[in-house]
């Protein structure tokens, strides 16, 4: 594994597939269950619901009704 400028082994990037857009979502190495991540294409909030395997699902949102 390649080292970074400080001589530390480069961390492998964590990724998951967005259930909304199918895009590859990059996650921080210290990601935790319950964390909210933005979908890079739609901007939708995704919730991390498990770490092994890393699984994302759309985060609950307040619904608006413009049809009143």
């Amino acid at each position: 594994m390649a080292n970074d400028p400080n001589g530390n082994a480069a961390a492998k990037k964590l990724t998951a597939v967005s259930p909304i857009t199918g895009a590859i979502v990059e996650l921080p190495a210290n990601v935790e269950v319950g964390e909210l991540i933005d979908d890079p294409e739609s901007g939708d909030e995704l919730e991390v619901v498990s770490l092994d395997p890393i699984t994302l699902q759309p985060a609950p949102q307040e619904e608006e009704d413009w049809g009143e």
Partner: protein, 353 residues
């Protein structure tokens, strides 16, 4: 690639209209184009800025008569429909590259042209010399084009949004129902009783429920599997001056998801500089909004899938005078001459607008 940073001279025939004026605005700011002459038979001798006040202090050209045109590298034709095909030889003798902003050379199928334009094309073979200037669906041909046929504004807006879906095989049937809402500038600069302010102001006018000419472009340029796609277009004019919003309905197979649709657009448009997928529940502008695109060359596309029926609603927005006309051609010229594609088209719009 035909790259050259040599300055190219450009003239505009019929520069007093809205599309000609928009071409002039964009070309004046382009580093590799120098506007040489602009013509208007009616306004010959008058300063350009008296007709296009946004160019005060920017452009000191005066309108000239077309008969006084000198040779140039690129000639834009902003004439009423029919004149470009009748005067082709006159203009081809002036420039190596013609850019027709009207609808004279968009349709290569004579029968299709006659059906939607109501008359036989006076020079049907000429259409073969013109390349349809919509880079998102015609990039390779544009790179080696001789002349350019500017696309219709509604056609551009709907074609770019629907093309990937028709090409991908995701649709249950090759059929689209399109509702187009369009600003008043699309009708041109010539007044009519219908455009008189007391009649026009506040209208939401269904002006062409069937038979809109731009349907022909969609029938010709949407991908097909040997059979012509079905397109049902209705057009409504709004009180806005600029902008188009098309809302198209197509049907996908029931097992398809929105992620599949995202994937289709990602595959086709990830590297397109002017296409944006707009589908943001958190935003005030959750779907494409024409007013944010005024003056820009962007086309914003949004969609929503109704899972139980497979109905996919696709929204698309542009500025009809930029991406729907002059901007599309300048983008095509950038490709043709190997310039950076955004050159001259960098304006990102206003907010609030």
């Amino acid at each position: 690639m035909n790259s050259s940073s040599e300055i190219k001279t450009v003239s505009i025939v019929g520069a007093s209209g809205y599309t000609g004026g928009e071409a002039l605005r964009i070309l004046l700011a382009h580093p590799f184009f120098r506007v040489q002459q602009v013509t208007s038979e009616r306004l010959a001798g008058k300063p350009v800025s008296s007709t296009h006040p946004n160019l005060r202090g920017i452009c000191d050209l005066k309108f000239e008569k077309a008969e006084d045109l000198s040779e140039c590298d690129i000639l834009f034709l902003g004439l009423p429909h029919g004149e470009s095909q009748n005067r082709f030889e006159e203009f081809a003798g002036k420039a190596g590259v013609l850019c027709d902003l009207a609808s004279d050379f968009r349709i290569k199928d004579g029968a299709l042209y006659e059906k939607f334009y109501g008359h036989i094309h006076s020079a049907p073979a000429l259409a073969e010399q013109f390349t349809y200037a919509v880079p998102e669906v015609n990039r390779q041909e544009i790179g080696v084009a001789k002349h350019f046929a500017g696309a219709g504004c509604i056609a551009t807006c709907s074609l770019i949004s629907l093309y990937p879906l028709f090409a991908s095989g995701i649709l249950r049937e090759q059929r689209a129902f399109i509702d187009a809402k369009i600003g008043s500038s699309a009708t041109g600069a010539s007044p009519s009783p219908a455009s008189h302010h007391p009649e026009r102001a506040g209208c939401l006018r269904s002006f062409q429920p069937t038979g809109h000419r731009h349907t022909a472009e969609l029938l010709q340029y949407l991908p097909n599997n040997g059979e012509r796609p079905e397109v049902y277009l209705s057009a409504t004019s709004t009180s806005e001056v600029r902008g188009i919003l098309t809302t198209a309905q197509v049907f996908v197979d029931p097992q398809r998801t929105e992620a599949d649709v995202w994937g289709v657009y990602r595959e086709h448009y990830n590297s397109e500089p002017f296409v944006r997928i707009v589908k943001d529940k958190r935003s005030i502008y959750r779907y494409p909004e024409p007013k944010l695109l005024r003056g820009t060359n962007f086309v914003d596309i949004g969609f929503e899938l109704e899972p139980e029926t497979g109905r996919l609603v696709v929204m698309s927005a542009i500025d009809n005078l930029v991406k729907g006309s002059a901007g599309n051609i300048v983008q095509s010229l950038n490709i043709r001459f190997g310039y950076p594609e955004r050159l001259g088209l960098e304006f990102v719009g206003l907010h609030p607008a």
